[in-house]
Assembly symmetry: C2
């Protein structure tokens, strides 16, 4: 393993894959960054815009001499894609990804890449935007953002070192955790708020008796619901591939809302102020002001 | 009634009252903008910083020759304050306010100002920030923001006209609605999201087994929970003074979350995508991108 890669293949050149490709290219961390996908026109656009060096729509050609493959396809396409690349993986080629749920990727790897597990390293860059697509690729998307690695038991230490160094070179803050803990934490901090925001907008939208209710919303509502403008297909997949942890958090949230409704109904000023104060202190303490 | 006021009194010179005072003064819409409160030092600061022309800590002096009084105290102080100003109101002095719940102000007016009702006009400027206090006063806070009037049955038409013109001069988009409809709409579009955001932060904060969970949050979480950094006392009062509508919406939201948890548990990809797509379309259609 070297500190620079001969060839990196990015499968799924959207915002996450395209930003990774562009970041690697800009920093000269690979001799060749190759995009793989079905849409040759889109991939050519990536080459024209210095996001990719080369591209291929033929998986055998793409994987030739590849030292690291980065999967950035929707969660629902991860397992089918592992099946496709499996037969073409060069020995010692690192397989990593950028998916938002990790246990499902672990399970798919154990199923599809039994003979390649020391080189498999599931990963999740904590970065994103409400825009998507290759056009939104940003070589600095990962700077100062966390990157979570969830190694398999079988993953080689040197693979972990190599991938850690790569992401650190892209500016990310790299951390390791268990895949099930990852899914639990991100169900709480990312998946739950997204589902809550989608749900609120949908609830208001279903009440025509309120008239054009959205015109009475202000900046707070706009911020609160910004994540409800995210890609519905991506979030559908997250709901399906991290269903256990998300359902658990939704149930907990539901119970806490029932409790809050009781406090409001009882006009329990003291308890409301306590709850709101605790929340404000926690947020002001932990979240960077913006 | 004239298009310019001789004297306007602002009671409660925080963000809402201070911004109103400053906006009126900057536009020369009153010969005198007088602040009333208990904290002489704060009010003097307002005079020194061109937010107020004068101030008083004596209600009789403050109300002398007053043509319009704007109450911007916390909801819990509205009724006590109406009792205090009642005996000192000049004939034909307009009484209006900036509170976030309107039915409670209507009820308090009917109770405390029985002989003055034609001059009472409850109002709610749809503007705010997560900062508060006189120091945050902004003369352009109301520009291009909605201002909702909820007249009493008894309110004189010319009072409505006069207050409408005043707020329009401050840049606001003025609308009228029934006070109960107001409380219902804003319970849904403003109070509900605030309560949901406070509740999420508090829920995560209560789970030490997740470790320092907030460090794994990203921009989406920051935006979603920004309103959870709002003033706990103000929101406690909103919970108490609009309890019926808020409790109703919390219950509805709770039921819709139970349904969403079922969809996730069943990995119902089709229903999840449908819900998320409806929400995204509604938001993209109705909310100004930002």
């Amino acid at each position: 393993l070297h500190s620079q890669f001969k060839k990196i293949v990015v499968i799924g050149v959207g915002l996450i894959g395209g930003s990774f490709a562009k970041a690697v290219k800009q920093r000269g961390l690979a001799e060749e960054v190759c995009g793989f996908g079905r849409d040759a026109q889109k991939l050519q656009w990536g080459v024209d815009h210095q996001i990719l060096d080369t591209f291929s729509v033929d998986i055998e050609l793409a994987m030739k001499n590849c030292e690291l493959v980065f999967l950035a396809v929707p969660l629902g396409s991860m397992e089918p894609m592992l099946k496709i690349i499996g037969p073409h993986l060069p020995e010692q080629c690192i397989v990593t990804d950028g998916g938002s749920a990790k246990q499902s990727f672990v399970n798919s790897s154990l199923k599809c890449l039994q003979n390649h597990l020391p080189y498999v390293l599931p990963a999740h860059p904590i970065a994103g935007k409400e825009v998507s697509g290759i056009e939104a690729s940003d070589g600095d998307l990962y700077v100062d953002h966390r990157l979570i690695l969830t190694p398999l038991e079988q993953t080689h230490e040197e693979v972990i070192t190599k991938v850690t160094q790569l992401w650190q070179s892209l500016g990310a803050i790299v951390e390791k955790m268990r895949s099930d803990f990852h899914d639990e934490v991100f169900a709480a901090t990312s998946h739950l708020p997204h589902f809550l925001a989608f749900n609120l907008v949908d609830l208001l939208n279903e009440h025509p008796e309120l008239g054009d209710v959205f015109k009475y919303t202000a900046g707070g509502f706009r911020d609160f619901t910004r994540i409800a403008s995210s890609d519905p297909v991506m979030w559908r997949d997250i709901g399906v591939y991290n269903s256990e942890a998300i359902a658990k958090w939704l149930r907990q949230y539901q119970a806490s809302i029932a409790n809050l409704a009781d406090l409001v109904e009882n006009q329990d000023a003291e308890a409301l102020e306590k709850l709101f104060s605790r929340a404000k202190s926690a947020r002001d303490k932990h979240i960077i002001k913006s």
